[in-house]
Symmetry: C2
């Protein structure tokens, strides 16, 4: 059973001690203190360094020689000191009454030092402390504006939680989310997973109000049954997307020498994920594409989709992608066609794709989308724009958002703007404003199809539950 006790203290602490805090710029123990402070953490930050009598201050904060010297209570201790001193430090944390520990330090299970890793777990259990890691890059939690990582500082707050088993890749992907303008609710580096595991985190995130979708990078899962049981419940509330590497034979060997994970048979993992409704992405590009849509989409109330475009070519590409990704396209009845025709020239097309033609400006996009949002027969909307010399992508992006907001963002929508820098700017603006946007129509459609697949799974499950309930009633 997943255990969420103490995870509050890990992700949403009121106070954080950084054990191994350093005054030397670019040292991990310095970057963590700086990220905490500069990102805007509102709780107490206590730098701990045994040379406190010499150093006095780190990043303007009073330094303590030991956690036992800290005046107030400490929820979370982030530990970045050489491996051989960690156990001793944990004993002090335990005595202090710290509730959660994040061990940044490496040199444990991942290099074969399993005994010392088990020792850490034993100490934490003794004092009823939760342990993340060891061998992590820290935790970020948007709800507390807390960046207790040694990754990039400027994480964009948002709705996606990311759990990463790989440290280096996790940090790099933190940077990637910033570049891609993806807003994050939480970033958690699980490292060696000596105590806290994916299931514990999933269970906590399922009830986290700031998280709408969960993305996991895993190389291996230790307790498969626990993970499955937890994921099965969590998926009913929030979508989970998983990237699992070590899928190939050779990749599994590489993973084994990287984090010591036993990857197991990939097809078994695949079947297991399908069974519990976890969406599996082939790579992290795809995974982030999906969570961008999953984290922003309102519930799916009707299935049929409409494509609104200013270009026939992109319309055809999206149509292909819808068919290949099982998104049904509405065949507009006459009354719907009549509505769309109001906002296009005579050579436009009110069929689906609704082709506003190349001259379509922001006003025409706005008007056509108002029709699409208002009509209950339309379940989802795919908006495409193909750059032209006579229209302004950013202005169009803003009117798309305007129409969507006025409709109360009432159905899932994805967008794709194909073109140069102005299109890139427009897409960044949309993504920052919670409207998923993608450089190719296919990416947009595939991301939307993840929303459908999550929905299908939930529907199938609720049908099964209802059937079981009927059966129970009939028998009693």
């Amino acid at each position: 059973m997943a255990n969420v006790e103490g995870i509050d203290a890990l992700l949403a602490p009121e106070s954080v001690a950084v054990i191994g805090a350093s005054e030397v710029k670019n040292k991990i123990g310095n970057v963590i203190v700086r990220n905490l402070k500069e990102y805007g953490y509102k709780g107490k930050i206590y730098p701990i360094n045994k040379k406190a009598d010499e150093i006095k201050e780190i990043e303007g904060l009073k330094v303590y020689a030991s956690i036992l010297d800290v005046p107030g209570p400490v929820d979370l201790a982030v530990i970045s000191i050489p491996a051989q001193f960690v156990a001793e430090s944990l004993e002090e944390c335990g005595k202090k009454g710290v509730k959660a520990i994040d061990v940044i330090s490496s040199g444990f299970g991942e290099v074969g030092n399993k005994e010392e890793e088990e020792e850490l777990v034993r100490i934490c259990k003794k004092y009823n402390m939760r342990l993340l890691g060891p061998n992590t890059f820290g935790v970020y939690y948007g709800g507390k504006t807390m960046n207790a990582t040694f990754g990039p500082k400027d994480v964009i707050p948002g709705k996606v939680a990311f759990i990463s088993q790989s440290g280096a890749l996790g940090i790099a992907l933190m940077g990637w989310t910033i570049l891609q303008q993806i807003g994050m609710s939480a970033i958690i580096s699980t490292g060696n997973k000596a105590e806290i595991d994916d299931a514990d985190l999933l269970e906590w995130l399922a009830s986290d109000p700031s998280t709408n979708a969960i993305l996991m990078y895993v190389e291996g899962i230790k307790d498969g049954q626990k993970f499955m049981e937890t994921a099965r419940k969590v998926v009913l509330k929030k979508p989970i997307v998983v990237i699992k590497s070590g899928r190939s034979k050779r990749g599994a060997q590489a993973a084994a020498s990287h984090t010591g994970s036993l990857a197991g048979a990939d097809n078994v993992f695949d079947a297991a994920m399908k069974q519990v409704g976890v969406l599996r992405a082939a790579d992290f590009g795809e995974a982030f594409d999906w969570v961008k849509a999953l984290s922003q989409s309102p519930p799916l109330k009707a299935k049929e989709s409409v494509i609104v475009t200013n270009g026939g070519g992109v319309g055809v590409l999206a149509t292909d992608a819808c068919e290949f990704n099982n998104i049904p396209l509405i065949v507009p009845p006459d009354d719907m066609k009549k509505e769309f025709m109001k906002y296009m020239p005579s050579f436009g097309s009110p069929k689906n794709p609704v082709d506003l033609t190349g001259g379509a400006n922001e006003k025409q996009y706005y008007d056509a989308l108002k029709v699409a949002f208002k009509d209950d027969r339309i379940g989802t909307v795919i908006v495409l724009y193909c750059q032209t010399a006579v229209t302004d992508p950013v202005a169009i992006a803003k009117q798309i958002a305007q129409a969507y907001d006025e409709a109360g963002r009432n159905k899932p929508m994805v967008t794709s703007f194909v073109g140069g820098k102005e299109c890139d700017d427009a897409m960044k603006w949309l993504t920052r404003n919670g409207i998923p946007s993608y450089p190719t129509p296919e990416q947009a459609v595939k991301a939307l199809s993840a929303v459908y697949r999550w929905n299908d799974y939930k529907e199938k499950l609720s049908t099964r539950v209802a059937a079981r309930a009927r059966q129970h009633r009939a028998m009693s």
Copy 2:
């Protein structure tokens, strides 16, 4: 049979007349003159406007009332006037001795006006002029620094030729190549393909020294047999990547109403492309990824690949991708391992992936890559970088290029830098400098696999030809 007569005049003319040139900014007839001039076309540019007595100059160039008034010879006439005047204009071009025509004007076959389209072809045949279009957005040819399109101006010169059937999408994708830093040798909008078709262009591009790879966006092909015969020959010289939309049932209907193309059965098209060695991409994101690698790769001399990385996680992802995309990974023999070990800390891995570990700087990348380039047992190289706080992606990119240049760019290489803005900068630098770079390891591997697939096809074919030659000899 493909016909290249006059295509020189279309793509590499010494003089261009713009019929329908305009002094009004943002009119097509103005943008084309401006793009020609500002992009740096060295030949003669003759703006033609029947109100030459009033207008005198367009963009600083003397205006002529008729092409018949132009003093020197005219290789190419680009026509942008209302459809009903095009035929008359073509007669004048014919009398003038123009060699190639690009009809920008729409209002022909694509709106059902097939008769007038046939009339244009008839006139061109009479005067032995080649006809591109009608309904095009123009032509760009890097070899002559000629941008005779009404698309974006700042096309990056390079090695990729792009043939687009869709006008709007073609223009948008021109912008996209700039954003993605993909260098182009030619961009040709085929429009309605009334006379010049894909096969003619392919045949010409096969002998074009500035083109290394060809990308085509097609919705339908008119003369399948001609296309196949030509492609089969061209592929032996240069790789062709095709994106064909209208692949799905619904997409084919949309394509039919867009350009009037009959898409035909998709699986037939697919089989045909495989038979002649044309690589088919699922979408244009993938297609441009592939041509980036195909246009820059030297010949493949050995098959086995090595992955050089600073992060285990990205290494595992790339390993998976290699296996799924049939790229064999070398198992480094002891002597090779020993070489790699010189450039990594003791906890690095000289196995494949060669893991230089997170601290690896530009020097270590340089040294390790020198080993990879020098060793003939290694056929291709995949370089990965996962952003860290202590290393500089741009500096690493530059040392990768340095090592590659020193080795004479002697084997295909792809790179992927995972991280934030600095990684994006590094990848743009690499791509601009002719080293294909991709935001995810999977994209890099898939692009490299396109190089393998093209090579496999050529090998298979030459084996077949050799076998046939042996058979001939044996029988004679």
